[in-house]
Amino acid sequence: MSENFRSSETKFLDKTNRISFIYNGKKYYGYKGDTLASALLSNGVHLIGRSFKYHRPRGIMTCGSEEPNAIVQIGGNGSFTEPNVRATEQEIYEGLEASSQNCWPSVEFDVGGINNFISPVIPAGFYYKTFMWPRKLWYSLYEPAIRMSAGLGKSPTQPDPELYDHNHLHCDVLVVGGGISGIIAASISADNGNNTVLIDDKNSLGGSTIFQDDENFKIDDEISSVWLNNQIKNIKNKKNLIIKQRTSLAAYHSYNYLLARENLADHKSLNERANKLRQRLWKIRAKKVILATGAIERPLIFNNNDRPGVMLASSVKKYIDYFGVKCGNKNVIFTNNDSAYETAISLNKKGINVTIVDIRGKSSSVLVKNAKDAGIKIYWNHTVVDTKGYRRIKSIQIMEMSEDGTNVIGSKINLVCDNLSISGGWTPMVHLFTQSGGKLKFRDSDQVFLPNTATSDQINVGSCNGDFELDDIIKNTISDCKSFLSSSSTDFDLIKVSCPKQKENKNVWLLPNDKPLGKTKPFLDFQNDSTAKDIKLAMREGFRSIEHVKRYTTTGMGTDQGKLANMHALGIISETAGVKMGSLGTTTFRPPYTPLSFGTIVGRNVGTFFDIIRKTPMHTWHENHKAEFENVGQWKRAWYYPKTNESMNQAVQRESKAARESAGILDASTLGKIDIKGTDASEFLNRVYTNAWSKLGIGKCRYGLMLNEDGMVYDDGVTTRLSENHYLMTTTTGGAANVLSKLEDYLQTEWPELDVWLTSVTDHYATASVCGPNSKNILKKIFPNIEFNDENFPHMSFKNAELDGIYCRIMRISFTGEHSYEINIESKYGKSLWEKCMDAGKEFNITPYGTETMHLLRAEKGFIIVGQDTDGTMTPIDLQMDWIVSKKKYDFIGKRSLYRSDTMREDRKQLVGLLTDNPSEVLEEGAQIVQDEKKQPIEMLGHVTSSYFSPNLNKSIALAVVKNGKKLKGQKLLVPMKDKTIKVTVSDFIFFDNKNERLNA
């Protein structure tokens, strides 16, 4: 079509700024400020897409976020592509690419259209009733077929090149909606001294009043649009008012926590968008909220009411008055109320042919009189019974309605048209109100749900509160806002409003037809193709609740979230069931109000910022020495240090040998460190650890095991007594934060009487752990003033020291079984300390080793790792650590749980060693252990928790937990793998130096 439908001038578009865009491969033109919908309509394009189920041709119905049909794929196949975008909301930009969805090969000719012909056999919920026989066809044929037919648009297949951001906003008053009531509310609020935020989803403020040029609608003797324009001008100068346009409220949570999406780029051409933010999510905390979200027009439900060219009357008005676009040359307006007459008059003024079909008997309002005077033909008491035209409406058939409106009489009248503007009255947008927890009430006079009781500090004004006429809107908005904000201002008190409409409308949910319902297609949900028939079928089958009917028929489950469909569904249900509509309740409106991009919700928390990275003071050294890193919680820990073309295994074997044969060094800075002070420190440790602490000598270290109250091992580590009332506790890397808060919890809530103070010093100290036969010699070089002989500095003791005048703590403790020392120093010196150790150790071939080697070395010694050898089901007894559980102590965390019938069982899973019959065979960690493979069901005795090839023993070793393991020592067991079964023997779990001679070597 080459005809230009941009009929009239409009001040809302920048006519000097002509823009080209591509739709279904064809180039079209529009103007800056056009939506894709208005631009397409100006080119005479109505056919936009195909419906989900029957693949019926569909066009543009509305001009806003309620649009069910005109949803397109934006941005071609590139990385900017986006499915299911409403043509009625997308602003055009130079080079915009858009294409129809859910059709193949083209929207003009779509193979899926076949569904329309089999539609009699596939009513609502048909798939629940079939595809069950034969069973195997379900898997091979039916289910794949159903899955193939899924979806509308296409998911992107490339990462998103654009950026998103978040920001928190705290204000006194948030006004949602920039229509006339929102403007008035914002103005009153700001003048009242509240810091106020006004958000509106459009690119220009003023809602539908901004293009209301009818002389009949006057405010203070000015045309309403003129008056509003002045109001907008003056609120823009208010200091304490922030106005955010192209910003739509997505969700309204409790405690007045609201999420709003600000659109910064979607209206700009791609080359203007590089490295800029696309959208920003505002996380708003408002003391008070004023909702002015407006109302949307209802469609009318009659046979074949879904053809391209069937549009909401108010939208047709916006297209002509705001965008200067006519939606057809021959318009029929089909209505049950006065507001559609505004559309008729607007069209008529622009010289466009209009006929009106009104289901009412009459209306005495000025507006209707004007229409008559303009010579517009009105069919009173008539209804549309059918429409014709496949890809665009061509004609309609109307009939007279019977007295009671339940039937049609007389003969059909055929009206030729290329546009049918329908108006079924108005539905207040109470979605956000209900999201916030507000309860609705029902108004019978015009069959609308209205805000009733709110759970948060907020009010609703304007048409979302059920005021549909200008005079009510303005007067109530003013008085409600003033009392809500307890404003004493007298502004607007004397406002004069004239509004010529009659407020009664005649509401018929499902219009009568000459054909039986079964032979007609009166659509409710245009996107999901659910009809009034489907609703009645669902109810016939026993589905009563609105939620059931909705789910069974998929009504309101589309991307428009049923903004158009839900009320009629409710209406038809209540009529059919013969119950009052108010008593039915509504479906729950779930956030978001309009669909929200994942990227927007996530903001900058992608890639680098997906999660925190914690680094030790020596991190750069590890990097410079080619360390591979392991994620431990949020920490990056050196895992192993491969030499050129060394495999992980080779590196670990080398590191392990070096540590035992001469010297190794480990970065242990990530271990949690808690400074404990106070006169009750010892008593406190007695209560939180399983063993006794009071007698620990000053300057001595002790290993401790911490349980949960349920008796299961929770954490472990070495704690040092620095002085009478001063300890330093170390925790596992992953446990640090939890242990500290657990200990604080007990101190604050259970034992407030204890004089104990905890302070985390995890990040304050860097820790280098030097181990191996030569560790002593290395430390001697670094700390010449300290005597490192066993008398002066025995195992499990500590010394204060100085290094170049810097204070250090040295603990002689060992997690490897080797003679070894842990040096703690202020973290700013950590890297330097490490380098000093490396220098001093050079002559002894000191070898840096990572967590993997550490794990191997400790496994040779049978030391457990909490979280690897335990899984929250192991008691100290299970770990054969009875020695650490004080029998004398009256109580400690978890003690009581050790004496329950199950925890006392002799044959619980217990920690043991496993040796493979083939010493070179290394078991897989996690492998299961059995005694008898044949027995069915096979009994699993336990599993392998740690497993390595020990270079120092030159054989494979493993730790495992095995049912009744203590008693099985020496016995043969089996480890069944997928492809083979490995023979193992239960052994002691200390494989290396079980006399601990090396500790003092």
Partner: protein, 417 residues
């Protein structure tokens, strides 16, 4: 059985414009007395009634539901079905359920759209790898079809996952259970309801329980908004509201009811053909037959009966989704909602008798109850009918919290090294 569902019945009824379909279930008033009453008309409750009638010939029974059947967690979950659990007891329970799923549509003549598209669990750190391998070995020996996948195999099975080694928590591998998948949640409730109803079970909606009547330590009946109902056996399947009923009966349960959230995207053409779960990077995703991405978020840490959770949980989940699937950044969230899940300290359910004679509880399913629906119903029916547990649910008794013999499915809940 009422009139059979099939393609032929559809064609036949299309000739009469589908005017002659029968009600899927009746809408009866409660009788004075039943042999047993099930509290809770969700999937588990309706399945229980179905199997009581079918297998134990208890047909004079009722299901009382305070709202609408299937309106609770059944209609709110992300419909993941799998049986690759660690402990024998759990594996037995969930695989029993999975076997029932495989024939369920035929058994109840209602297509529950059970789709065995496979469920993949990803590992993101070394302990994940140990835990998942441990589970896979246990599954294999328990006859459950779980296999370990290398990172490459993960990529091959679901190409859109970002398996780059450069992401914050790279995918180090995963497990796959091919028999696992999804089903249509509403259909499960509706199908069981229709099946039970056709055997004479009364399904009474909008009937809220107000009190449990006891004489001594045995139940006598229940006070409801539709009057008193006499019965000697009460099976409570009230999910998030289990504790509310327990308080009526004067017993305490080791439960906390917390918000669990989920969301769906707008529908798109098929893009992900399996179910992918990741615990370390908390994100579960699959694609519904309508084309929506169905995404499970986490629970909040506090008790709430509001069916709303905090936004941070949703943000955290989508953050994880974009880490694993960067291509979804421009997809849009269409709907977000919450349910109330009742969680046991050991993350395993309670399907058990109680200290009160004739009072049985089926609860504590936490975040994963849907997958167990048929098995849970079958075993709970057995427990009620015989007044003693089936071997498959014996381990899930209430007494385990006293003895300490828990079924700890947190896996390696303990801290990492």
């Amino acid at each position: 059985m009422k009139n059979n569902y099939s393609i032929f019945s559809l064609i036949k009824n299309s000739l009469t414009y589908h005017e002659n379909w029968q009600q899927a279930w009746r809408d009866p008033e409660p009788k004075k007395e039943y042999d047993a009453v099930i509290i809770g008309g969700g999937g588990h409750g309706l399945a229980t009634a179905f199997y009581l009638a079918k297998k134990h010939n208890m047909k004079n029974i009722a299901v009382v539901e305070k709202g609408w059947i299937g309106g609770g967690n059944t209609g709110r979950n992300t419909t993941i079905i799998r049986s690759n659990y660690l402990w024998d007891a759990s594996a037995g329970l969930y695989d029993h359920a999975l076997k029932l799923w495989e024939n369920l549509s035929q058994e109840i003549n209602y297509n529950v759209m059970f789709s065995q598209r496979g469920v993949m669990n990803l590992a993101h750190n070394l302990q994940d790898v140990r835990d998942l391998k441990r589970r896979t070995h246990a599954n294999r020996l328990n006859g459950i079809d779980a296999v370990w996948l290398s990172t490459e195999e993960v990529k091959n099975f679901c190409p859109i996952i970002n398996t780059s080694p450069d992401i914050r928590y790279p995918v180090l591998g995963g497990t796959l259970q091919r028999r696992a998948g999804t089903a249509r949640h509403d259909a499960v409730a509706w199908g069981y309801a229709r099946g039970a109803d056709s055997m004479g079970v009364d399904i009474i909606q909008n009937c809220e329980v107000k009190a449990i009547k006891r004489s001594g330590d045995a139940v006598e009946g229940l006070e409801t908004t539709k009057g008193f109902i006499k019965t000697k056996k009460i099976g409570v399947v009230a999910a998030g509201h289990s504790s509310v009923i327990a308080n009526m009966a004067g017993i305490r349960l080791p439960l906390e009811s917390k918000p669990l959230q989920a969301l769906v995207s707008e529908p798109v053409k098929p893009i992900i053909n399996t179910v992918v779960m990741s615990n370390a990077v908390h994100a579960y995703v699959s694609q519904s037959d309508k084309g929506e991405l169905v995404i499970g978020a986490g629970t909040d840490a506090y008790v709430s009966y509001t069916q709303r959770g905090s936004h941070d949980v949703v943000e955290g989940t989508l953050k994880a989704i974009l880490e694993l699937y960067p291509i979804f950044s421009r997809m849009k969230m269409l709907r977000q909602w919450g349910g109330i899940v009742d969680i046991c300290p050991d993350a395993s359910p309670i399907v058990s008798k109680t200290s009160i004679k004739g009072l049985y509880f089926n609860c504590g399913w936490g975040t994963g109850g849907f997958k167990a629906t048929p098995g849970s119903g079958d075993l709970f029916a057995h427990t009620i009918a015989n007044d003693e547990p089936h071997v498959l649910n014996a381990a899930f008794n209430i007494n385990r919290f006293v003895s300490g013999d828990l079924v700890d499915e947190h896996g390696a809940a303990a801290v990492a090294h």
